[in-house]
Amino acid sequence: MAIIVATLLLFLAGPFVLWPLIKTPDEPLPPARPGTSP
């Protein structure tokens, strides 16, 4: 039971702890070539 509670708390804390990784923008995507569908 305690392990389930711990897992749940860690899951809930995830977005706060990992926020610096989440907010860091990914590598920009290469611009789409003209004439290709999006």
Binding site: M1, L9, V17, W19, L21
Partner: protein, 644 residues
Amino acid sequence: MILGYLGAGALLAGVVMGGFSALLSFWAGWRENDVFIQVGRRGFYAAAAMTVIAALLLEVALLTHDFSLAYVVEHTDLSTPTPLVAAGFYGGQEGSLLYWTLVLGVLGAASLVASARLGARISAYATGILAAILSFFLFVLAVVASPFDLLSVTPPDGLGLNPVLRDGGMLIHPPVVLAGFASFAIPFSFACAALLAGRADAAWIAHTRRFALLAWSLQTAGLLLGMWWAYHVLGWGGYWGWDPVENVALMPWLATTAYLHSSQVQERRGRLRAWNFGLVILAFLLVVFGTFIVRSGVVPSVHTFAISAIGPWFFAFFFACVVFSGGLLALRGAGLGVASGQAPAVSREGAFLLQNLLLIGVVAVVLWGTVLPLVSGLLGTQRVVGAPYYERATGPLFAAILALMAIGPLLPWRHAGRPTLRALRWPAATALLVLAGLFVAGVRSVPALLAIPLAASAGATVVTEYGRAALKNPAIILRRRRRYGAYLAHLGLVVVVVGIGASHFGQQEKDVTLQPGEGVTVSGYTLTYTGSQQRLLSDHTEFIAGMRFGDQTLEPSRATYATLGGQALTHVAISTTSVADVYVVLAGTNDDGSASFRVFVNPLVTWIWAGGAVVILGVVLGNVGERSAAPELARRRIPITLPA
């Protein structure tokens, strides 16, 4: 029952999050990866939040009398008043460890928030060290000594708090002293982080000094509150018994006192860099060692917690801390460099160095006295030393420290010339005057004739310094308030020392058995016994004696707890007059209506509590809201950078 599962879960989550934060912070600091440094720091904040959740859950369990938890059963019952039920949180081994961890988490998080100026690498390493310490405590709490252990059968009521702890002092002394202990981890973490990062410049010392000062202030208040509590509750007429628990609280305080002075030598003159690191590290090692001693039960003490399984874990943790910090200091200390030129002996820095050596001497004396039962037990016959050993061995050292308190602040940096000798005339004259006054008053105790005049001369030095500033430009007191706050703290300490000297060497004591109507006179104070009465309460029987003292009636009493195997507890009656405390202990009542008392007259005890308040006031006024000295120091000195 659900609170037990939730609390245990929060502790487990804290262990995992703390371990993650420690490993990631060390790695990210080494690679100087800003994003992962931030993730590591947030991991520490999350682990601290788990600790806060666990602490709140334990408090809720206590206040709602959740007797499915063994800890709640062992430390509270339905008849315990609510404030003391709440205080049961730190009334036992497991809860007090959780409180320790809570303070570490909260203050550690605050120190990391304030560490932005130190640079990413130091900050990351400090996070790693703090997270490792936090994880260790959370691991012990989750696995070895959990306050959330469940009972297989839920009893209808608990066992209640130990009678000695059922006192108002319980609401303030343990939380302050435990917070003091926990906060020594913060300067330690930043010192080790600075060594790891190879930076020993002024920014490190400014940041660490602030948290060392916080730890020192909490420990000062904790020690004084402990003395006050012992004096008012234990009924032996004194306030300091050189018990191992008192000693282990005193030693880190002494080491940090030394650091707070020697750090100024580094700030002003660039000297004692390795020594300063060593003092900060020593203070924390003494805390961990003290925690091991107190909580493992290896040394006999009146404060010892019940024997538990945490001893070996704390010994291993102490060993790991010694190896880590000692190794770090040995590897990096040599590279810290020394300032060029010989330090003059008669100068402010010379006085600080001598004071440091004397304080470390006191630590050594106290440490050997404390561990003697352990060491001698391992070698054969267990030996224990008492107050006479400590008083004889530390007395001369404390006297020399008092003399330095009188002389040191008047010495200039670098070199003391003839004007300094002239400045010393006021403290010297005060010492001689007080000595003569005491002698004329009939005081013949050599330690008292030494301690009180020296303390008075240290007080005269403070007054001289304030007077000089007031005559020259009073605004300087506000402008340089860190310095004048420290002088105020010195003045408070002088008052404490006079109180200790007078009450220790001037104490009068008398044992008497009196019939109603009979009186006793001790040191000019007359008390008359008026009779006693018995009161039956839910869990104990109380005998209350009446003693008429002037217009007042003092009521010393003695309670017997049948439910706790007949454990007896005295309640002291104290009347504080302007110059002395009249302290009455009821030793017992007899069938013929007579009662036996021990009566003490303790001169100037109130000076100790008042002086302690002045010390704290001086530290607060001198430092709260003070702008960090780091930028100014960094301008004045070239940072010392070690190879990373």
